[in-house]
Symmetry: C2
Subunit: 460 residues, 2 copies
């Protein structure tokens, strides 16, 4: 296997030790393409690494990757490189592929000449689905398969089974098709699914003015935070949220808001400290999961859950977003990514919160303390190691299933993936809660709808 | 003068040394009424202090204060004590009075049986105005006269004169009546006034989960933050903001939003770091200033500026608000008020930002570094000392003008007050800026109105 790693940021540097420990014997060569990564490629690796100091762009993509072949495996961990164009080229070259997010070329998210709808993940995914339809038997290319998007789609399947088992006992078969999964979700009456993440990591050094502090890529977070807020739109919803917009083409599973996701806050729940406020950041999984779990009766979408990401980043990132918004989303001059040793305490709770069923709400996911991540891999933090888990497990699935064409997380075998991701995820947790967005509301303002699971009740 | 100090929190403890240095010779007795303040009344004072361990409530007010007379001066720095009832009693007793905020009795802000309109500062002020009309020649009772509300109303007058001088030269007379001030503001075409505050103080110890951290009263901040967002509503505004509501009675200078002020963020500007995001916290001055600056042609309000508070609290308070909102505004179990020595760096920029005139926007106010406040008064921080300034200057004005009845900041002589406040305010700053809320907007979302000074453009 000839590995070509595009982009060498926090995730790639955390991946590297595990890539070698997991696939070392199978790796023929290892090439890294990144404009700045060289100095971080330490000499400690047991394997020779070829470093290409370049940014992949539309103009140089084919030249830079001209030696790809059917033994190659492209791991795309960059930002600002079009996933669609890269996958398309890999398909031509018979090369396997994985990424952690469907990315556009640089400038797409900040192109004021485009409509907000064009800057959604919905639009990016629709372009990928168009390509997918043309590459049915191509080499396996797994798109959007880090932690989230990626592992969380498998968490949803496991959570649906756990809820069913807890309500009806464990004698029932595991769904095998998309419609069977959607039917299960419909039968359980799951109305809302949050990807509910609470990053509790606290930096040793507090954020300074003019500095964006985060536990992972700052460009990545600002990029997605400035995309329109976006969510899969459930069939139980009675009315669009303020500034909510429907799409006019495509699968129609999602809507977007005419404002940046990092400016929309909504209530969620995790086992970290219970209720918390997350940002309505757009993510590919809110579109793909809501599409996958749509139950059709004939042509009619009879059932679909609302699916959204509710992301409580680390405290210094909340302050960074607050500052960024005050500056009309013009990025700070300085950035600081917290590496493992920069973190005084805390970790990352990442899971899925399935709400509306008989047992009210169920969170399923994992918690990893930063100190534990550090022990597993000194190059990682609690936040980066979970993405590594998705990439490693996805690669193993692609190697075991090499001719599936373009694949989304929901189409993969969730138990295979979870088994392979588990060593990197720390403690897996499943927890029921009585929480709802109107729970504990003091009724001072008339916001609550008669149905407590309406999306509007979650909005700050 | 017999001083009766009600409430012994951060402001009162910062006030104490300056009270004695400013009025020591005139003070016959000094009584403090507070349920918990005893342990903080250090033995270092040069003056005997009588401590009464009690909370003032509707039931015990007259008993606790039965010995008030015309030599007394009540300084009310409590929360949860009705200013209207207390002022009314002081008027009966011929006692001078000052507070820093028009407060209701405990429970008013969290009474879900009341309408949001009843929980506004507009309603509290209207009740005070009703009392005021009955006490025209009573002993002077200055309401809402700390830093803000209080000093900032005097800053606005100074700022209006500075702008006029800079545009037209300095030969013009100083307005003497309310309508003359309103005319000046109208003639200068001031469309929006922000009370623009940026608290840049950074704690040595970061906020922990379940803890509200602030540079001043936590009960006070949560109380006002959970009141409806509120603002003086200018005559140039084209449409109400989302969830905006008009009042049906009273002076009609202000509107409120049907949501907590601490959940509404808007762009503002201070000399600290330029643009920043503040909370639309309600304050008495947004109602009183917009009322005072309304220019009438006959019965018709021909001109009124929009007036709102845009408060960027210290970073740990931003995180505390974020957590509080996620918990449906149910207060954290722990609170921590940052005293001077707990603060690693930073200070407080408090001023007024007058926008829309020929020179675009002008911020006038002061900056005090916490370390400077500490030198002036070791019991204070940059945040508490500014409130002390308003109280001291207000008391001096009341002593010089003893029979004015109930008085708002706007009715006082601004230059007298500013002269007496200045020793506590650090560096006074006046700065023009080209900033506007649509400045630097990248145009990714269609929010901007054709008139850049519309309130909607300021909203996050």
């Amino acid at each position: 296997m000839k590995i070509v790693l595009i982009g060498y940021g926090t995730i790639a540097s955390a991946l590297m030790p595990n890539l070698l420990s997991e696939f070392g014997g199978e790796i023929e060569s290892l090439k890294v393409i990144d404009p700045y990564g060289a100095q971080r490629l330490s000499a400690d690796f047991d394997f020779p690494v070829t470093w290409v100091a370049a940014s992949v762009a539309k103009e140089n993509l084919e030249d830079l990757l001209s030696d790809l072949d059917s033994d190659s495996f492209v791991i795309n961990l960059s930002v600002n490189v079009s996933s669609v164009d890269l996958v398309s080229f890999c398909q031509q070259k018979e090369t396997k592929y994985i990424d952690t997010c469907i990315e556009p070329w640089a400038g797409h998210y900040v192109n004021a000449d485009s409509e907000p709808a064009e800057r959604t993940n919905y639009a990016l995914r629709e372009a990928m689905l168009t390509l997918k339809a043309k590459c049915q038997d191509g080499p396996t290319a797994i798109v959007a398969h880090g932690a989230n998007p990626g592992l969380v789609s498998h968490f949803v399947k496991r959570a649906l089974l756990n809820i069913r088992d807890d309500i009806y006992g464990i004698s029932q078969p595991i769904p095998q098709t998309r419609q069977q999964w959607a039917k299960l979700s419909a039968d359980l009456d799951v109305k809302i699914i949050h990807i509910a993440e609470h990053d509790t990591q606290i930096a040793k050094l507090p954020k300074r003015p003019g500095e964006f502090v985060n536990t992972w890529s700052i460009d990545g977070f600002i990029g997605e935070g400035c995309q329109p807020a976006e969510l899969g739109w459930g069939t139980h919803e009675l009315r669009l949220p303020p500034e909510g917009q429907r799409h006019t083409t495509g699968c129609n599973s999602a809507i977007y808001l005419n404002r940046p996701g990092a400016s929309v806050r909504l209530k969620t729940w995790t086992p970290a400290f219970g209720p918390c406020l997350g940002f309505l950041i757009t993510h590919n999984e809110v579109v793909s999961l809501s599409d996958y779990l749509t139950y059709f009766e004939g042509e009619r979408a009879a059932y679909r859950p609302t699916v959204n990401y509710a992301y409580h980043p680390c405290n210094d990132a909340i302050l960074s977003i607050h500052e960024l918004s005050g500056c009309s989303w013009n990025p700070q001059a300085q950035g600081r990514i917290l590496q493992g040793p920069d973190i005084a305490s805390g970790g990352d709770y990442l899971g899925v919160l399935l709400m509306g069923h008989k047992k009210n709400a169920y969170w399923f996911g994992f918690y990893m303390e930063n100190s534990v991540a550090q022990k597993l891999n000194p190059e990682s933090s609690a936040t980066s190691l979970q993405v590594v888990a998705g990439v490693i497990a996805g690669m193993k699935w692609a190697i075991a299933n090499p001719r599936c064409g373009i694949i989304e997380a929901e189409e993969m075998d969730f138990s295979f993936v979870l088994d392979n991701a588990k060593p990197y995820l720390g403690e897996m947790l499943g927890e029921y809660t009585d929480w709802s967005p109107v729970e504990d509301d003091k009724g001072l303002f008339s916001t609550a709808s008669s149905d407590k699971w309406q999306f509007q009740n979650f909005m700050e």
